[in-house]
């Protein structure tokens, strides 16, 4: 029987009918033992019915026709019909059960994968491309689904049918059976060759079509540039090349198929001839039914051989898909709540970073950060891009854990806190916050789904989002497309401010948008930000000095360390990195061009007088060079004047106050 088990195993390893990656799906199967047992029983019953019916044909011929016994003939045929019909019923039950089981597994696996993804540390997402992860949830899941809905039923029926047919052949007449099975060894060798060659060929085909698709996707996405730079011909040439490679791969794959299946047929014919020849010599003429039965059973033995070869490449790709999905599932959840997590009550929000170091892989980006942000106060982080500002903020949000040192809130290490409870009191407004498809209102409500409509509208009014929404006929019910295209960066940021405000967090992280914001929207954002900061501990990554001015303390982060800290006044008073940064923002103070065209620097002195009373008298104060500071676009308290009566907020207003606004 070892030959049989081997046949049942398409990859040739005796006790592994399904490749190992797919075996990890066992746990889903194990959850439904009765289902599985039922389905398997049906499959075996169906295989026995199919093969057994031909033994009844033998009876009908040998005992009925050959002995001229009509009653036996009728009886045997009645039994044949009964057995066939019950086989038919069993087959129906089995395929339905299998479809259910397969789809249950797919849904379960997809859910498990998605759940797992949402718990993974951001480190994983920064190291892994989004496309790669999405492919696991889509094309790989499809491959598994194919295996389960098509491959698995074929696998099960074939695995049941083959031994049953061989068994029936032996029972029918062992000598005829042996004659029939003479071709089995070459058939096995041939199948093995086919499985290997066709897997390789299929893989090649898939890779080639993937490259074609990628090329199309890139061309479509970059069509403006393809056309503008007249690169149509070059792109078409490359496309033809890739397409042709794909065609060749397909032809090769088909050639393998066209060799294998006729060869198996030929072996079937040889086997038939052997059965007939042996039968004619060995059996008396009244045993003609035995020969007939052997003849028909033979085809039942060859049929699974072909089916198994057909599903083999499908199993292989399912296997590959499962291995990749498994690599995601095996990824450690770095950031999680400890077993006995502290569930904090309402936080005061006293933040502390204690000698914090952090590395992405081997590359350390923060080298010992010490920082205290008292409850309710506001700390601005400034510095050139790539200095580690966002990483620092992400540690506070516990998107990462520090490699050395600790981040604490109210004296509690973040790693000891219940992650969900902490994040519920944490608000994050990113530079370009991701918006989900849905209405503007849905997106605002994202962090506080239970908020009432009235509350929602109040918040939107507070941040001025109602004015933005007025641009659309549906107002706040305007459907935004995924990613928020159709809205400007500034409008997207307003939405995320409203989102954070509605969630009413205790600790806030705000990453100021750098680009593409028109002035009126910028003013709205500044006002909204003042609202948002009130009464919360906040960490702002500031790109403009006007924003930094809101803070109680400013830290300058460069190359992973805090190089300067203090209030705006203190920092501007000394010649240091902050002053350099502030000066760099001055319009027209670029090395030459702008100043040259707009007249010389002397003009700048004319700035301050035109601006009566700046923001809280910051401008004139301190020993910093007035010309430089005055030239700064935001030195004039943007929030105050242009917002038309909005409150002026040189620093975080009203703290630490109740959140009763």
């Amino acid at each position: 029987m070892s030959a049989l088990t081997e046949l049942a195993a398409p990859d040739g390893s005796p006790r592994a009918p399904v490749p190992t990656g797919l075996l990890s799906l066992r746990r889903f199967v194990a959850q439904r033992p009765l289902w599985v047992a039922g389905v398997l029983a049906c499959a075996i019953g169906e295989a026995l019915a199919q093969t057994g019916s031909w033994l009844l044909v033998r009876v009908a011929i040998n005992n009925g026709i050959a002995r001229r016994n009509m009653a036996t003939l009728d009886l045997a045929l009645a039994a044949f019909v009964a057995v066939s019909v019950s086989g038919f019923v069993l087959y129906g039950i089995m395929t339905r059960g299998m479809a259910r089981l397969g789809q249950d597994i797919v849904v379960g696996l997809r859910r498990e994968l998605f759940d797992h993804l949402t718990t993974l540390s951001l480190r994983y997402f920064s190291e892994q491309r989004a496309g790669w992860i999405i492919a696991r949830l889509t094309s790989d899941m499809d491959a598994i689904s194919d295996v389960l809905s098509e491959g698995l039923p074929t696998l099960v029926t074939s695995c049941a049918l083959l031994p049953a047919a061989v068994l029936a052949l032996i029972i029918n007449d062992w000598r005829l059976g042996l004659a029939a099975l003479v071709v089995l060894p070459p058939a096995l060798v041939l199948s093995r060759w086919f499985q290997r060659a066709s897997t390789r060929a299929q893989l090649d085909v898939r890779n080639r079509i993937a490259v074609v698709t990628a090329h199309v996707a890139e061309s479509v996405a970059g069509m403006v540039i393809v056309q503008s730079f007249r690169r149509q011909r070059a792109f078409r040439g490359r496309f033809d090349e890739l397409n042709d490679a794909n065609r060749r791969a397909n032809v090769h794959a088909q050639r393998i198929v066209s060799v294998f299946f006729p060869s198996i047929e030929l072996l079937g014919v040889i086997s038939t001839v052997a059965v007939l020849a042996v039968g004619a010599h060995l059996l008396p003429s009244n045993q003609i039914g035995t020969i007939a039965a052997a003849y028909f059973l033979l085809s039942l033995a060859f049929q699974p051989l072909q089916s198994l070869s057909e599903v083999y490449s499908q199993l292989q790709s399912g296997q590959a898909a499962m291995t990749k999905i498994g690599s995601v599932l095996d990824e450690d959840v770095e950031i999680s709540s400890p077993a006995e997590a502290i569930v904090p009550g309402r936080l005061n929000g006293h933040l502390r970073l204690d000698r914090v170091r952090f590395a992405y892989g081997d590359h350390e980006v923060l080298h010992g950060i010490d920082l205290t942000v008292p409850a309710g106060s506001c700390c601005a982080i400034v510095g050139e891009s790539g200095g580690g500002k966002s990483t620092l903020a992400k540690l506070v949000a516990r998107f990462y854990d520090p490699s050395v040192g600790a981040v604490t809130v109210d004296g509690l290490d973040l790693r000891e806190l219940d992650l969900r409870a902490y994040r519920r009191q944490l608000g994050v407004v990113l530079q370009d916050q991701f918006l989900f498809s849905g209405t503007i209102a849905d997106n605002v409500r994202f962090a506080a789904p239970e908020a009432s409509d009235a509350e929602l509208e109040r918040i939107c009014g507070l941040v001025g989002l109602d004015r933005v929404a007025a641009r659309f006929p549906d107002g706040l019910r305007h459907q935004i497309r995924e990613g928020g295209s159709g809205l400007s960066a500034g409008e997207r940021q307003l939405i995320s401010i409203a989102r954070a405000l509605l969630a009413d967090p205790r600790v806030l992280i705000f990453d100021e948008a750098t680009s593409n914001i028109d002035r009126p929207t910028e003013l709205l954002i500044e006002r909204a930000l003042d609202r948002l900061l009130r009464g919360r501990t906040s960490l702002i990554i500031a790109h403009r000095i006007a924003t930094a001015r809101r803070a109680d303390q400013i830290i300058v982060v460069e190359r992973g360390t805090i190089v300067q800290r203090g209030t705006e006044r203190e920092l501007l008073a000394v010649d240091g990195p902050f002053r350099r940064l502030a000066a760099a923002h001055v319009i027209g103070a670029g090395p030459d061009g702008a100043a040259e065209r707009r007249g010389d620097g002397s003009d700048r002195a004319a700035g301050p007088p035109r601006r009566p009373d700046a923001s809280g008298g910051h401008a004139g104060a301190g020993g910093h060079p007035p010309a430089r500071h005055a030239g700064h676009p935001s030195a004039r308290g943007r929030a105050g004047g242009a917002a038309g009566g909005g409150h002026r907020a040189p620093s975080c207003p009203e703290r630490p106050g109740p959140l009763s606004e």
């Binding site: 087959y91 479809a99 689904s145 730079f229 007939a292 891009s385 670029g590």
Partner: protein
């Protein structure tokens, strides 16, 4: 999927078992005939065999008909799609106008109207001219039609009324290749392809030498970065290569457009993702690099605006204000409204 499986489950077995049942009938009737002596065993076996051979075609026929139907439906969709795509009408080669051979060219929008298909009018009668050796910035709120206006120059769209002229020639009269050779574009979202940096840069001028490339990279403020790459210009970028940041992509795209050395340059917010500090350096160097060309620039940033000789403010699909930035600020009109107190600073 379940439904499909169920359909198969209820359809296939009858086909499977039909032969079994007909075998029963054949045996029943044929068996009697053999007993009668009117039929031989051989005839009976032949009959059964032929019967079984009918099975596969029966099974396959349904399957193939189904496949064929699906293929026909897909092909129908594909062809319908191909037919629906409007082609950009191009002047036939023999009748196409040509641009004057000198390297400079002006751009003129002559009462240009434009509406996206099915949408309301975005531009309603824009008049604007850009002389050779002039940098004109287009400002306006988000959605005011800046990008749309810019996209008309290289004929990414055609105006619904009015005309866009380059060196006095209607763009629609020019061969597309000639037009696009004369206009170099930096799009709002920089597009680079998954190939080497060099291949990307050479898109507009395949014969440029390394010196020219380096000069363009320097003007775009990205030379230092490229030099820091392990393979320099031969670094593979994109999906399978080095991932560039938004600002780096923008600067490479700018370098590509500069390298093309076209008389008309369209810059759609080309430095929006670049650090302010770096932006100042680039802007300062760029003015010299743009000399002699007609440049149309859209931007939200005052700092990028510093490049322009003249500003046109778009509002409600029209140019509502036009002039030197310094003059516009004094006027306290729409431009001053757009840039708030920043504008005051800009006048320093």
């Amino acid at each position: 999927m379940i439904r499909q499986a169920r359909v198969e489950a209820s359809h296939l077995p009858p086909v499977f078992y039909l032969p079994s049942l007909s075998v029963a009938v054949v045996l029943l009737l044929g068996g009697r005939a053999v007993i009668d002596g009117s039929l031989t065993y051989g005839d009976l076996a032949l009959f059964i065999q032929l019967l079984l051979q009918i099975v596969w075609p029966l099974e396959a026929m349904g399957l193939i008909l189904d496949l064929g139907q699906r293929a026909l439906a897909s092909a129908g969709r594909a062809f319908a799609w191909l037919e629906r795509i409007p082609l950009l009408p191009e002047a036939p080669a023999e009748r196409a106008a040509t641009l004057p051979p000198d390297v400079s060219a002006s751009v003129a929008f002559d009462a240009v109207h434009f509406a996206y298909p099915g949408g309301s009018e975005v531009l309603c009668g824009v008049r604007l001219e850009v002389e050779p050796d002039e940098i004109v910035a287009v400002c306006g709120r988000t959605g005011s039609g800046k990008s749309t206006l810019l996209s008309l120059v290289a004929r990414h769209y055609d105006p619904t009324a009015g005309a866009v002229r380059i060196a006095g020639v209607d763009t629609r009269a020019l061969a597309l290749a000639e037009l696009r050779g004369a206009v170099s574009v930096v799009t709002q979202r920089p597009v680079l392809f998954s190939e080497t940096l060099r291949a990307n840069l050479l898109a507009g001028r395949p014969d440029a030498d390394d010196d020219a490339i380096t000069r363009a990279l320097e003007l775009a403020g990205v030379a230092e970065f490229v030099a820091s790459l392990p393979d320099g210009l031969d670094t593979l970028i994109g999906e399978r290569g080095v991932n560039l940041s938004g600002g780096q992509r923008q600067r490479v795209a700018l370098a590509r457009a500069l390298l093309a050395d076209a008389p008309v340059l369209i810059l759609d917010d080309p430095l929006s993702a670049v650090d302010t500090e770096l932006e100042h350096e680039i802007v300062a160097g760029l003015r010299g690099g743009l000399r002699g060309r007609a440049v149309l620039l859209a931007t939200q940033r005052l700092s990028t605006l510093a490049l322009a000789n003249r500003v046109a403010v778009l509002e409600g699909g029209r140019v509502v204000e036009e002039g030197a930035p310094e003059a516009l600020i004094e006027r306290d009109g729409p431009f001053a409204g757009l840039f708030g107190e920043d504008a005051v600073v800009g006048a320093d």
